[in-house]
Amino acid sequence: MTARLCRAAGESKVASPGAAFKTFGLPVGLILLALLFPLINGVTGANLMFPVIVIAVYVMLALGLNIVVGFAGLLDLGFVAFYALGAYVVGWFASSHFSDLSFRFLSALPAQSVSGRELPGIHVSFWILLLVAGAFSGLWGVIIGAPTLRLRGDYLAVVTLGFGEIIPRFFINGDNIFGYNLTNGTVGIKGIDSPGIPFVPSRAWQQFGTLDLSPWYYTILVLVLITVFVNIRLRDSRLGRAWVAVREDETAAAAMGVNLVTTKLWAYALGAVFGGLAGAFYGAFIKSIFPSSFSFNVSVLVLCMVILGGMGNIYGVILGAIVLQGINFYLLPQVNEWVHAIGEALSNPFLAEVDLPRYNFFLFGILLVVMMLLRPEGIIPNRQRQEELREGDEDDSATGLTNA
């Protein structure tokens, strides 16, 4: 293990043109590309704004899960719970859902509705809610994590899966909690307020609209960049090293004085915070949230992104998110059309009518299995992670089995 750590540390210190490009050139280039994207989109008329924003939300989710799965090595199968909590925070406090109340705080909405009556419901500024949502999800991460994190890896996975199922189900049943309508059930919460920045001259920025999506885009871009920054800083921090130690050998880490529960709890709570932030943004962007958008499938999709790209590698995780959502948004509908065309040409009714995007999780399931069998470290591997995952191939089976 020491040899491996030294190697990993040594490599990052070597100064070469390639390394300089990797540490500065590549990130700057990517950020510039991201900043200019609305312009490129406008000039080429590609009309990709909406899907790109949704992809960015998933990038954020994947980076959040990366902290839990990639850095700390805890398998979280209920990540969608935090995403849902974040979205519902915005739903509750920035819509007319609690119609018997009337409360406004720094909201970008006009004080009165068109008819001149005061707006019902709670309307709090999105920017405050963003922080609230992150904190609320993080708090739930602690509440869920504190009793469960002493469990072994696979049991923890099942407990998180259980929570991931309970929370959306609670939102479904929440329309009648002792007679009180908390979540509006399967109908969900609709008409969520848009964010806005009051003191800027641009109208688009005063009230985020649906025609010009660039304020949304820049907001999520900033959120993603913050997430990336936090990811990098965490990875290289004392806490990050503690995560590596816990991931590689819990007993040894505990013997070296790493507090297992606190270390794991930080990973779990920080992951939850980013899940909540992504959920809050998504809720405001989509404007209506339903429990059915927060199913187990979302947890697995985000997990697929982390695994496909490379657990623990930030570039890899971002790439994984883009590739998988790209498959969802573009590849499958496109292939579907081709298959329909082939089916019609061959007058085969099955091929002409098959609905491929419905089977996307077939593909993701195969992807999970194939990645684990052939390249468990992902497309862009984290070197340390790669050696851990490949360890069992050479070492004797006993150490491989005890690696939880």
């Binding site: 090595g73 398998l75 199968l77 009793p147 469960t148 002493r150 469990l151 072994r152 890896g153 696979d154 049991y155 996975a157 099942v158 407990v159 899966l161 259980g162 929570f163 199922e165 309970i166 189900r169 609670f170 479904i172 049943n173 819990e250 007993t251 505990a254 187990f296 697995v300 997990l303 695994i307 419905r358 089977y359 999780f361 077939f362 993701f364 399931g365 195969i366 992807l367 999970l368 299995v369 684990m372 069998l373 468990p376 851990e388 995952l389 360890e391 069992g392 191939d393 070492d395 089976s397 006993a398 491989g400 089995l401 690696n403 939880a404």
Partner: protein, 364 residues
Amino acid sequence: MATTQEAKPKGAALLDSIKSSSWSSRLAVAIVAALVVLLLIQAVQEPGQFVSQLLIGITNGAIIALIALGYTLVYGIIELINFAHGDNFMLGSFVGVTVLSGTFLGLGFFTPISADSGTGLKVFGVLFALFVAMIACGLINVAIERIAYKPLRNSPRLAVLITAIGMSFILQNLGLVWKGASQISFPSLISDANIFAGITDAVAYRWKDLFVILVTVPLLIGLSYFIRSTRQGKAMRAVAQDKEAAAMMGINVNRTISVAFLLGGILAGASGVMFGLFNGTTVFDLGFRQGLYAFTAAVLGGIGNLTGAVVGGILIGVIGAMNDQYIGVRWTDIVIFTVLILVLVFRPRGLLGDRSAVQGGGGE
């Protein structure tokens, strides 16, 4: 496993164990006791309804127990939560309904066996569907192990678990491709009539319920005989205890693991067909929920413990049925998943005990 405590009067031993118990376990016992008392009050007020609900719970529990055995058999030997097991159960019900329809891949083999068929044909149809589904699910399970789990035997546990989730989605989508997204209805081959119709109307126990028990009990006896008394069963117990030592004694570990998957699959297949015949419908994403119920049952009884899986299954069935009656169907999932979490957190070894749940240094 066996405690080597000195012989004490029972009362004193009980008092000692209460004194040494932690506050959280005392609280848990108190809550469970309160719930039992509440249930008993219901039972006294309306005994007929309570008994009917209890019997339904036992029937559902028997179906769950058969799936739970598959989880526990596999976990006991390779310490893997086979997420795909629930979906294998779903495929079992699909195989069953296909056999009863008499048509496969567009070829009609015989006329569909339906509610109108003669009694002999019905009995044959049910047994044949059970038989085919058991074989099919057993083979599917073995194939999954060979393709997806065996190459990863020496990898970190996380990797195999992720593969299992992937397999679960693959099977679920195979079901979706095969039968579509809508509910598939089973022919009602077994009578809905109450067995006690002539005697009392208060207690409902249908022929369907009896059918489930009549299939489950022989399967359990068979499994128990296999594990206890055959050479292969002995090998399974040995591998579960210590894989390397077993291999050194000349036991074929790979074959033994395959046998465990085969047995689990056979039970899941039978369970799938019974679920379909009992509830009348099946659907492609049935496996996820039912699988999670069964996993809860396995954990509740103590994963790796076969008797525990059966006890846990029946308990989960009864908890579900009681909840359906006295709290509301919409909360059943939440209640059962909460049971899962509470058991894992407070008693990861389950009711009947298992050693492997908490890695060293993690408290109880």
